[in-house]
Every structure is written in C-alpha cells, then in structure tokens.
C-alpha cells in the first residue's frame, strides 16, 4: 500500500451501501449507493436531515462499521480490509465524545497521548499549544465529568489532536454548544486546516458552518443530493430569495408561518423583523401577492432548502406538515397583554456560588420569550425555579398571578415543561407515554381521551403510536415530549434547549407549532443555542454568569452587535458582542 500521492483525495467513496435492522425487524437503508470524494486540504461538511446517514458514513470511514457493498478508501487504505491502519493515522471525534468522567482533564489527554504513542518531547510542545487553543489550561486537574458542555467538547477535540492526524473526522462537533464555544471550536478547526494542512470531514446541522467549508455533501435518506463547493448549492436559490416586510400589525413570525404552506414558497423564516422567503418558480403568487418582495442574495441555507424540497417532491412525499393548524386561525393574541410570568430580583445560591443573580423579567400572555446565554449562564437554574422544581433563595416569582413561593401546586397546573434531556419512558410506546402523562396530570374519562386524540393528531404521532419511546427517530422524540407537556392545556410552556441537535427541517416544524401555540394564547419561554431561532421570539434576554446582560426585542438586541464591517449584524454577532463586553474587565482594571 503506497502512501497517498499528493493531491489525491483523502476519502474516496464509491457506491457505498449500508443497512441496519431495527429491533422491529424493519430494514433501514442508512446509505444507499453513496459516492463522493473528499479532496486533500480544506474542510468538507456532511449536511442533511437527521437520519440521513451522516453519522453512519463517518463511522464507516473510521472503520467502526463495515459497509454492505461498495468501496471506501481513506488515505489510500481500503477501510474494510485494514481498519486498524486507518485508525492508526486519523483523528476521530464522535458525536458524544466518550471522555472518562472520572479522570481529570490532564489524565484524559495523557491517555490519548499514550494511545497515539506521543513522545515526551512532543507532549512538551503540544500540550501548551492545545491548552492555549482550548483555554482549558486552568482546569487541567478538574475531572472531565465536572466540565461544562462546551469545555467537554473542546477537551474531546484536544484528545483527538494530541498528535497531528493525517485526517480529522468530526461528527457534529458543535452540537449542544453555545455560540461562544462554537466560535472557539471553529477557530481551532480552521487553525488546523490553515496551519497544519490537516484535511477535515465533519458533519453538522448548522448550515452556516457548512457554508464556510470548501466542500459540502448533502445527504438525505442515505442518498447524496448534492456535492461540491457550497456556492453550487447556494446558486440553486439565486434569484429566488427575497426579504419582505410583514404587513402592519403583524409580526414577522406570524407572516412567516402563514407562508409556509403556500405552494409558491419553498422556505420562509423570520429575520431581523422581516421575513426571508425562498420562492418556488412557476407558481402563482398566492399569499405572496400582498407582500412587497425585495430581492436579496441567496445563502447556503436557501439553496439547501431548495434541494430538499426538490427531493421531497420527487418522492411524492409531503415534506411540509399538512396544513392542520394547531388552533383555529381566527384566534388572535388577546389584547389585554396581561403579565403571566413575573420574575423580580430572583436569586439562587448553591453554597457560595451564585447561579442566578438578581434576574428580572416579565412575559405577557401569548408572548414567546427567549432566554439565551452560554453554557452555565444560569438559564436552566432559572427555568427550574420557574417550574417550581427548585426553590429560589430570594426574589419574587409569580406565575399566572400566583406567587410560586406560596401556591406552588396550583401554579404548576398552569405549566408545561420540556426538559433538555429526553425525559420520556424509552420502554413505553408513544401511546403509552401519552397515556401515562395524561394520568400524571390527573386527566380522566372523556377529557383524557379527547386530549390524547388531540395530541396524536396535532403532533402527527399516529404512524408511530406503537413504537417504543427509545426507538423513535429524532424529530419524533421532540414532538412526543411537546405533546406530553401540552396534554393538560397549560397556559405557559417552558422549553429547555428543545431543538438541540435537531436538523433545520425539524426546527422549522418546531417553530411552526410554537407560533401556533402562542397565537392560541399560550405563553412560551425557550432557551436555545441557535441564534437564528431567537428571531422567532417576541423578546429575548441574554444571560451570563447568572445575570441578565441585555433584554429586548430581537431588533433591539441585534443593534448591540454593530460590527466594524458594514455587514448587518446577525443575532450571533450581537450575542457574542454582549457577552464579551460583559466579560471584559472594567476599564480601570485594565489600566492597572
């Protein structure tokens, strides 16, 4: 086996097939005749809906799975014939990097250095570099289990990079990571490509990340939809992308949701108070007629949606949810704007540590309120107090007018909560899960049947009613969790990072439901790491180190992100600007 010739592709994949058998004996074709090449040098991204085969492909390349048919060579080595030879030379970071929680940061690093046979001399030069890159230097003695999500992800990457691999495979390296850590991770990855020329293949559900790569491969249901430079995909939407100002008295979110079912619209999303629209050519204007469309340059995400829409059409499959709105269309947000969640000077201490420090905000009926912040900002702690799962150290907390510190039980009846982690019963079927939660909320008789039927219909769970909770495909778990949280018709819905790791389609679907709920008068409070999702909120608050740093409408927050370039600041720019400004030491300290 000769060394890879310069310029030869690092990964060559021809007519690759891989199937799995589900426990239900159902045959799942994870990869169906997949062919592509990853060129030496630069970044290549695998994108596509959940269950598209991204992880399977990366695992095949890492020699962890064996293909049913087809060829796969990595660094010129046939992976099937000699997986070990590949594993000796590449770096691989799985989606859930298996750090040893009971080993310290340093011990985890040392273990991987020993596995790769990194000499003591190399370590002396490599470790400081890795520590600087990941900013883990001050935490080398901390147990990996006690690190935040972003830090764990960085340590995983550091373990993968203890020696310079000839190829780096990263499976969703930024999933569940806040925008700051995400940016830091990307700087590390790009630095590797730039300074050491390491070729990288990564999968991601962030389309803006894919846009920054040299090459993308779009996978859907095991088939390659497109491959090439991202601009090729973007070109698909060129000339079809518009911005529209919502009609007076309507929020961008409402306009956007109304457009989603229009045959003339491929995609619509709220952005900076306006609606971004990708048009389907050759269709009558429909709902678009009443809007003034301003052409705008296309983005990768726009082209991606065009691709998926096309694939769905050729499947004769309805990609968009059938137009079954959650509530009757004529329900309008009640005009009273009554405050339903009132938080004033909320404090929570854990010993000497102040997790939540004098947080105040108000949420009105039917509003969507977003709580944003880096990992460890105190969002989840605030959430738990709002849901009555944790008592406040001090401060006022009123839910629907009831002081949570006194009338906890009655307030809890008004609350639905979807936790960050999967909190349904994996061993119960979808129907049994709903049945259980209905009885847990004290629903009986006709009303219980009615609510379960409602949930099944609204969240389109019918086809999977008999599947076990643990076997549900990605998007369905999240729908089931929401269905369960809404069974008792709560007035307020809390969603803690509900879209973490979900693909763009699932997220659209999710926000469509949230919009409908808010139209029905349900108050929704969310946390998210997707800054584009903040655009759906009526108001947002940015938290860090337990304090609220900024609060206001998305437009107001975005204004704080004014950058040096003339580019319009994105929500992510604004977020990072707000956090960095707060973390920067005060001027007099700098002078000292």
């Amino acid at each position: 086996m000769a060394a890879v010739a310069a310029g030869a592709p690092v990964i060559v994949c021809r007519n690759l097939h891989k199937h799995f058998l589900r426990k239900t004996k159902e045959n799942v074709q994870a990869l169906d005749d997949v062919s592509f090449e990853v060129a030496r040098g630069g970044l290549a991204a695998l994108v596509g809906p959940d269950g598209g085969g991204k992880t399977t492909l990366i695992r095949l390349a890492a020699g962890l799975l064996t293909a049913d048919a087809g060829e796969l060579s990595v660094l010129g080595i046939d992976v099937k014939a000699d997986p070990q030879a590949v594993q000796d030379r590449i770096g691989y970071m799985p989606q859930r990097f298996g750090l040893y929680d009971d080993l310290s940061v340093q011990e985890n690093l040392d273990l991987y250095a020993d596995m790769h046979g990194v000499s003591a001399a190399d370590r002396r030069s490599k470790y400081p570099q890795l520590m600087e890159m990941t900013a883990l230097g001050p935490f080398t003695r901390r147990l990996a289990g006690q690190l935040s999500g972003g830090m764990k992800q960085k340590l995983g990457l550091a373990c993968t990079l203890v020696r310079s691999p000839e190829l780096l495979l990263l499976d969703e390296p930024t999933v569940g990571v806040d925008p700051l850590s995400r940016r830091e991770l990307w700087e590390i990855i790009r630095g590797l490509v730039r300074d050491q020329g390491v070729p990288v293949l990564l999968s991601t559900s962030y389309l803006d990340e894919a846009e920054r790569c040299e090459q993308v491969v779009v996978l859907r249901e095991g088939k390659v939809l497109a491959q090439g430079p991202p601009k090729d995909v973007t070109a698909l939407a060129e000339g079809r992308t518009f911005m529209a100002t919502p009609p007076r008295g309507e929020t961008a979110r409402v306009t956007q949701t109304g457009l989603l079912d229009d045959p003339a619209v491929i995609d619509a999303s709220p952005e900076a108070g306006e609606v971004r629209i990708v048009r389907q050519p050759g269709q009558p204007d429909g709902a678009l007629a009443r809007l003034k469309l301003e052409p705008t340059p296309a983005r990768f995400e726009d082209g991606f949606m065009v691709l998926l829409r096309r694939a769905a059409a050729s499947d004769n499959q309805v990609q968009k949810a059938p137009a079954a709105p959650l509530v009757a269309k004529d329900v309008v947000i009640p005009a009273d704007h009554e405050v339903v969640v009132e938080v004033r000077d909320l404090v929570r201490r854990f010993g000497a540590f102040v997790a939540v420090d004098k947080v105040s905000f108000e949420v009105r009926r039917g509003e969507i309120f977003g709580l944003l912040g880096p990992n460890g900002a105190g969002k989840t702690t605030t959430f738990r107090m709002l849901c009555g799962l944790l008592s406040a150290t001090s401060g006022t907390l009123k839910i629907a007018g009831v002081d949570l510190r006194r009338g906890g039980a009655s307030a809890r009846q008004q609350i639905g909560y979807v936790a960050q982690k999967f909190s349904l019963y994996a061993q119960l079927t979808v129907a049994e899960n709903l049945d259980f939660f209905a009885s847990a909320y004290g629903l009986r008789g006709a009303r219980r049947r009615e609510r379960i039927d409602w949930a099944m219909a609204q969240f389109e769970l019918g086809p999977v009613a008999g599947l076990l909770g643990g076997q549900l495909p990605g998007g369905y778990t999240q729908r089931l969790a929401m269905a369960a949280a809404l069974l008792h018709e709560p007035q307020i819905l809390f969603l803690d990072e509900a879209t973490s790791g979900a693909d763009p389609m699932a997220r659209r679907e999710f926000w469509r439901r949230i919009t409908a709920l808010s139209q029905a008068g349900v108050t929704v409070i969310v946390t998210t790491h997707f800054m584009t999702e903040a655009e759906y909120c009526d108001r947002i608050a940015i938290m860090d180190s337990g304090r609220v740093l900024a609060q206001g409408t998305p437009a107001e927050i975005r204004a704080r992100g004014a950058t040096k370039s003339d580019r319009q600041p994105t929500m992510e720019d604004a977020f990072i600007a707000v956090i960095e400004e707060a973390r920067r030491p005060a001027p007099h300290e700098q002078a000292a």
Partner: protein
C-alpha cells in the same frame, strides 16, 4: 500495526511497535486503576462487600448448634436423674434450665425461652433400677434441621451419662449392657466446625464476586458511556484493551484472596494443611476463569445492568449452590450433580477443601487445576472473539 502499512513512526526504530504497545497497555491499566479507586461502586464491590461477606459468614452464619436453651424437668430428684441433668449442664451445646414441673417447662417452650424439654419423670429412679427407664425428649420442630441436631445431641448426652455411670462403677456393666455405644470419629473436620468448610467456600464466593461481577460492569460501562467509540479510533488493539481490563481486577482478586486467607488463619483459626504456593497458583487459575467470564458477559451484552444480573445468575449463584460449598455434591440428585460439572467453581471448591483440610493431595489438585486452566483458556479465547473494534 500490519507489516505492510507504512509506519508513520518509522523513525522510532525496529522495537517501536512493541514499546508503543507496552505503553498503551500500561496507560490503559493505569486508567482502569484510577477508575476503580474513584468509583465508589467499584470500591463497594471490591472491598466493602468481601469484608462484609467474611464477617457474615465467619460470625453470623454457622451451621453448628451451640448453647441451645433446653429445659430439664426433674420431677423427683434422684441420683440417676441428676446424673442425666448434670450431663446436659456440662455439655457446651446446651444451656440448661432445671425445672421441677413439666408445666413450667412448657411455659418456657411456648415463650420461646427454650428449644427443647428433657422430661425425667417421677418414677425415673424406680424404673432405672428395673433397667427400663425412659427419658422423654420434646424438641421445637420449627427449624427441622436444628431440631434434628438437638435430638442427636440430646441423645448423645443421655447416652454419655450412661457411659459415665458405667465407668464410675455404679451398677455393674450389665445394667447398661445391651446398649450399643456409638463412638463417632470425625476425620478432616475433627472439631466438626462448620467454619472449616464455610471459610474455603467464602474464598470461592469472594473471588467470583471480584473476578466476575466487577469485570462484568467494566466493558459494558464503556459501551454505555460511549467511551469506546473514540478509543477505538486510535492505534489501540483489542488485546490491549482486554489485558488492561484483566490485570487490575486480577490484582484486586488476589488482594481479596489474601484478605480471606488472613481472616481464615487469624480470625477464625481454620487450619490450612496445603502449601500457600499451590493455593495461590490454583486461585489464580480460578480468578482468571472468573475475570474472563465477566468480560465475556460484559462484552456480549454491552449493558451494565443486564451484564451484572446475568453474571450473578451465571457465576455467583452456581458458585454458592452447585460448587459443593454448601451442599455436598455426592448427596444431590444425579441430574443436579451432572449440571455441577459445568460449574467451574466446583473444581475450585474441591481444590480449596482439599488444601485446607487435607493438604496438597496431588491426585486431586492436578486434574481439577487442569480443568480450570482449560476453562480459563476457552473463556479468554471467546472473549477475544466477541470483543471487536466495531460498533455494528
């Protein structure tokens, strides 16, 4: 590293692959060791549980009957009757309450203060003179096993008084003649102390526990926590992972063995007649069998809960029930005896009992040790087969 693959570390010389291998194994062993020390559940299974078992089996559980409270009803005191009462009072097996009436004895029995009544009726002296004296024995039969033992001991105590009477020349030999005096002689366990066979059994249990139960968790844990996925995509080889899983638990098992040996010797004073070297050698064999079984189960099932349950049923229970530790395998039904041949613990129990109570009897040690060695080899080979660097 395959010979054909270009070595990225060629500059490290010809011995580099071996040195790198040794370094990987050492790093993994050290990691495993740290996890044992830091994980409270490993500590509980590896150290606390063995100590508890030693104390429980050594002090709490005993198959002997001692200090049985018994009532002796002396309706009319007479020299013969007193003789019998005295022999109960002298016996270490009984705690004797002398009462004048049966009614009082019955009250004691009903209130649970005594487990048996020896009734020497008012006409005992007269009938003893005639040579047809009878002693009535009432035993609380709730615990059948204890009841039989009490019965036997009481019988022996009464017979003994007869022997003593004869020896002291009160009445001629003919008076007690016709009665056969059974003289029991116990070999090997001369004190007839159940600890003598419980303690060797304890060693089997503890080694099974540390060897199989702990290792049954360690591979499954890596699967569950997803730590294997990243580890697999490194130069590490399957055999290196397995060695690193065997060594720490093997050492822990040896510590357990020492703990048992020390407590057997110094806490319970169980005699040991074999050589310590032979014992260590055969124990290592059995430990290897246990560790390999645990690993095999763990690698196959990949779930901690399932693996621990299966290990309990597949190794610990048979080691307790079917190894000849509690029930003598010669007296069990044929079918069960045949099954017991499949239980590796059985061979180890034979080895231990022989070495503790008889000595290094090579005709027993060699065949049993050979079987253990074969089982260990087979188990390790199977484990090597099922552990692959693959997620499929």
């Amino acid at each position: 590293m395959t010979a054909t693959a270009p070595s990225p570390r060629g500059s490290q010389g010809r011995f580099a692959p071996l040195a790198a291998k040794a370094r990987r194994i050492w790093a993994l062993i050290r990691k495993e060791g740290r996890q044992v020390v830091r994980d409270p559940s490993s500590f509980a299974i590896g150290v606390v549980l063995p100590v508890m078992l030693i104390l429980l089996f050594g002090y709490g559980m005993s198959l002997d009957v001692k200090h049985v409270p018994i009532a002796v009803v002396l309706e009319v005191p007479s020299p013969d009757a007193s003789e019998i009462a005295a022999s109960f009072q002298l016996s270490p097996y009984f705690e004797t309450h002398i009462t004048p009436s049966m009614a009082e004895a019955q009250t004691l029995m009903l209130s649970g203060k005594v487990d048996g009544i020896v009734l020497l009726q008012s006409d005992f002296a007269r009938r003893a003179a005639q040579g047809d004296a009878s002693v009535q024995l009432v035993v609380n039969g709730i615990d059948g096993n204890t009841a039989r033992i009490i019965e036997a001991y009481a019988g022996a105590a009464i017979a003994q008084s007869g022997v003593r009477v004869a020896a002291e020349g009160q009445g001629d030999g003919a008076a007690v003649g016709g009665q056969a005096v059974v003289e029991n002689q116990l070999w090997f366990n001369s004190a007839y102390d159940s600890r003598y066979f419980l303690v060797p059994g304890l060693i089997v249990l503890i080694i099974t526990l540390i060897g199989a139960f702990m290792t049954s968790m360690v591979v499954a844990r890596e699967w569950e926590r997803g730590t294997f996925e990243a580890l697999f995509v490194t130069p590490v080889r399957t055999d290196e992972i397995l060695i690193s899983k065997i060594v720490p638990y093997f050492l822990l098992g040896m510590v357990g063995l020492l703990l048992c040996m020390a407590s057997a010797r110094f806490l319970f004073g169980v005699p040991f007649r074999g050589s310590f070297l032979t014992l260590t050698a055969v124990s290592m064999l059995y430990l290897l069998v246990s560790v390999a079984t645990g690993l095999l189960i763990s690698s196959t099932l990949k779930s901690q809960f399932l693996a621990s349950q299966v290990t309990l049923v597949a190794t610990f229970m048979p080691a307790m029930m079917l190894s000849g530790f509690i029930y003598d395998l010669r007296s069990v039904p044929l079918a069960i005896r045949l099954v017991s041949y499949l239980v590796p613990a059985r061979y180890y129990v034979s080895l231990l009992q022989t070495m503790f109570l008889a000595g290094d009897v090579w005709s027993v040690i060699l065949p049993n040790a050979a079987i253990l060695a074969v089982v260990a080899a087979v188990m390790l080979a199977l484990t090597r087969r099922v552990t692959r660097k693959s997620l499929g």
